[in-house]
Symmetry: C2
Subunit: 496 residues, 2 copies
């Protein structure tokens, strides 16, 4: 064999922050997304697949999410001589939607309902469980000012969760309205440009209710808060009366949507934007009730805030309410898997015209993790039947067996490595998670039979069986070649 | 309304050479790929989805296809302080497979059968119908030296074509072997390093048989050829006797695989590599025959060459044999939609060890175009039922109608634009390719009925009907609200 050139070999490594998906990881995600797509399509949403690459100009320089203002994109200059423009990988699905809505505005139906599923890229420092490429699954309605569009998406989200296997009772879609929040600010005396800083502190404080509890939030609304490490977070400087208004808002949820709405109406009395927001929530609630979405699925919940700088009207969030074991071994609620809301000025960047839009994004990896935690995934993990090769010259016979199994709809393959060492073939079948190995030596061939090795039972016996049990080889049966398909199917059914 | 800032607006444009896919363009491709995936899975191939981004080091600097040595990749430097490495978008699926096979070699089954489907990116000058992002659909077996692996992929390719809707008789998979070609070169006296230039000319000449015909190829094998424009292409300088050997090779195809193999064996007599290649073709032919793939599906065909610098053994190609109308209005064969072969040194770049591999790539866009030409796609183009809004206050009623239709498995949506102008609602339904519009004004609501407008029949009548026919409104029926779902289904069935 010729010596390798001295040039150093490249490293075989996925780039930092990226990952590869194998086998069931791919099919399970696809299955989940296909079920969601079916629900979206039934609601009149059309698929859209934009190019992964956008001009930096069209993307805009920053991620819209104010929590990560410095997060970057993967960008590069077009080759010289092409005018010096820059291209970049999309960082979300909303910016490309805005571009599409502007670019094709004369051809698209108006309103335009679309869904999209695919990878997005973020040029961020990778961390544990935090990748620079991940899937997003978005549904948006562009061009509908009516909150009926928001209600529709909330209902569709509930349907999608049930379609992928989250039972009713294991999730809740919570709806709020940024306008109500703005109304509360007004009532608390926080209107006006000079109060923007204080409003920001209040919004962030509300968002932390889950984590800090009422006392923590109250501290942030007032003079500020020192955390356990001794770090001090500045407060909004609200008086007790002002803080009461805000705290009252967060506690406004009642047993029924109607009661919550009534309570909110009291809280924002005097604020026109707040009253408008409450009116919108009331409309959403009545539309959802009429369409059959009860409070066991969708509720009005004033504590939902979400991406504060971004949304202009209704906001919504889907939370999974069942418990899983946290990293500390304690049970905790699974938490949020999807969220969205109304945003009205994205297309305006391109056309100068304000176009109303509302949409939801499902956290694909989180939802998949939830389905795995619930045991709703993994049926696909079983490997193919492996036809082993005892006699290299009879490869055609083995191929025919595999072809017969496939023709019956079963997954089947012939071992294609070096057949000399039979142990390697069984090791291979093991690595393939194969349920059954088919074995036919010249002796069996002469007698017109095959041996079927039940690898699942075999693995179990290897752990549990006594030597006598094991020697009797209950996991291996001899069957007529003519019955190959039927007998394999019998073994597979045994492990279903 | 506030004036826009003076900052110029970004252009809403897909970057040059990229495109967006809408509605049926997305679903039809997905459907086709899902059917192919099902065939691949049944053959024991596992899905793999690598990251879109690779290190430039892992990709290597050049595309492997010698026809495009200067074609580039989209690449960018990692942020400063990260060691100055470069990242790039993958340009095909084979380079990432090589990286994966090296990186996970201790964990993957050996042989490793995998398939993958997804976009790849090429930094090339875009042209008509030539995009810088496009789909590839690959299946490869890594680690199997046996030509049984090649035979398996040829058979699987035939199955996949039938699974997506190409009838038997409308395609042919053609198989050849680079070793036979090398043997022919040897027999023609073109062995040795000093003859590499001449061999290259011969190979390119063979590849042009379809286009130039026998005389043209003979000219290229000999002194060279002047084309219609007067341009001269250098010839290989072969004697007539040498050229006879090469021409004989190209004409070696006989009616049966066995006869073709026998003829090839004569032609390469005396060349050990040629004889080995013929032996491999014979094995492939017998394996395929045993697995039930007759010469109506897969044939040995010496005229197949493919990606010359790249392959080391069997090569294969799937061609669609039905005719379509060319751009010039004349019928022509649809042509090649998939191809591949054996390549043995890709993983070696990383590990120093030679790993045998063979695989096929389906031209996703070409196959889709073929299916559309055959009328096998487009069933999905029908839009949703559109429930129109006559009375803004009864939005909940309309939503309930849509929900009822959806619950019955039909696509349905409520019009969410401004309902004031009813004509706009019907224009919208038209743009949505909606088959049926549901209409209920207050009068109909009071009587418990809805109007169903058959938009497909309506469009037909608009073209054909007399004024009297049109006035009688045969395309519109009034039905009880309680029968909404059944009556809509009746209308949809009418147009199936």
């Amino acid at each position: 064999m010729a010596k390798d050139r001295k040039q150093p070999r490249p490293k075989a490594e996925t780039p930092k922050g990226f990952r590869d998906y194998f086998g069931a990881e791919v099919t399970e995600r696809q299955e989940m997304l296909a079920r969601i797509a079916e629900v979206y399509r039934r609601h009149g949403f059309d698929p859209l697949e934009t190019s992964a690459v956008e001009t930096v100009e069209a993307l805009g320089k920053y991620l819209p999410d104010v929590d990560r203002p410095n997060a970057g994109v993967f960008a590069w200059a077009e080759e010289e001589g092409e005018g010096g423009s820059w291209l970049a990988l999309r960082y979300d699905m909303t910016a490309p939607l805005a571009r599409v809505a502007a670019q094709y505005r004369n051809d698209l139906p108006n309103p335009y309902r679309r869904f999209t599923m695919g990878p997005v890229w973020r040029n961020e420092k990778p961390g544990p469980g935090r990748f620079r490429q991940f899937y997003q699954c978005d549904a948006d309605t562009v061009g509908a000012a009516s909150v009926a569009a928001d209600a529709e998406i909330c209902g569709m989200l509930a349907d999608a969760l049930e379609a992928v296997g989250i039972d009713r009772g294991d999730y809740i879609v919570r709806v709020n309205n940024r306008k109500v929040l703005n109304g509360v600010m007004e009532v608390a005396g926080l209107a006006g440009d000079d109060k923007e800083h204080a409003r920001g502190i209040v919004l962030r404080a509300i968002d932390k209710l889950d984590r800090l509890g009422e006392d923590g939030v109250r501290a942030l609304l007032g003079k500020g808060r020192k955390d356990e490490s001794g770090d001090f977070t500045e407060g909004a400087g609200l008086s007790d009366a002002q803080a009461d208004v805000v705290m009252g808002f967060m506690a406004a949820r009642r047993d029924s949507g109607a009661a919550t709405v009534a309570r909110l109406r009291e809280l924002v009395a005097g604020s026109s934007v707040g009253t408008e927001g409450v009116q919108e929530l009331e409309t959403i609630a009545s539309l959802l009730a009429a369409a059959g979405y009860g409070p066991d699925r969708i509720v009005i919940d004033p504590s939902v805030v979400r991406g504060l700088g971004y949304y202009t009207g209704p906001v919504y969030e889907a939370e999974l309410t069942f418990e899983i074991l946290g990293d500390d071994g304690r049970p905790r609620q699974f938490g949020s898997v999807a969220g969205g809301g109304r945003y009205d000025d994205l297309v305006k960047r391109f056309t100068g015209q304000e176009v109303p839009a509302t949409g939801v994004s499902i956290g694909v990896d989180r939802l998949l993790a939830a389905l795995r935690a619930k045991g709703r995934m993994g049926g696909d993990a079983q490997g193919p039947v492996v036809v082993t090769v005892m006699d290299r010259d009879r490869m055609a016979d083995y191929q025919r067996m595999a072809a017969d199994l496939r023709a019956a709809g079963l997954r089947a393959e012939v071992y294609l490595g070096n057949p000399k060492n039979f142990g390697n073939q069984l090791k291979y079948a093991d690595k393939r998670a194969s349920p059954v190995a088919v074995i036919q030596g010249s002796d069996e061939a002469a007698r017109g039979v095959v041996q079927l090795k039940d690898l699942i039972l075999g693995a179990k016996l290897a752990q549990e069986a006594t030597l006598e049990e094991w020697k009797s080889q209950p996991a291996q049966v001899e069957v007529p070649l003519a019955d190959l398909v039927a007998e394999v199917r019998k073994l597979l059914d045994r492990h279903r």
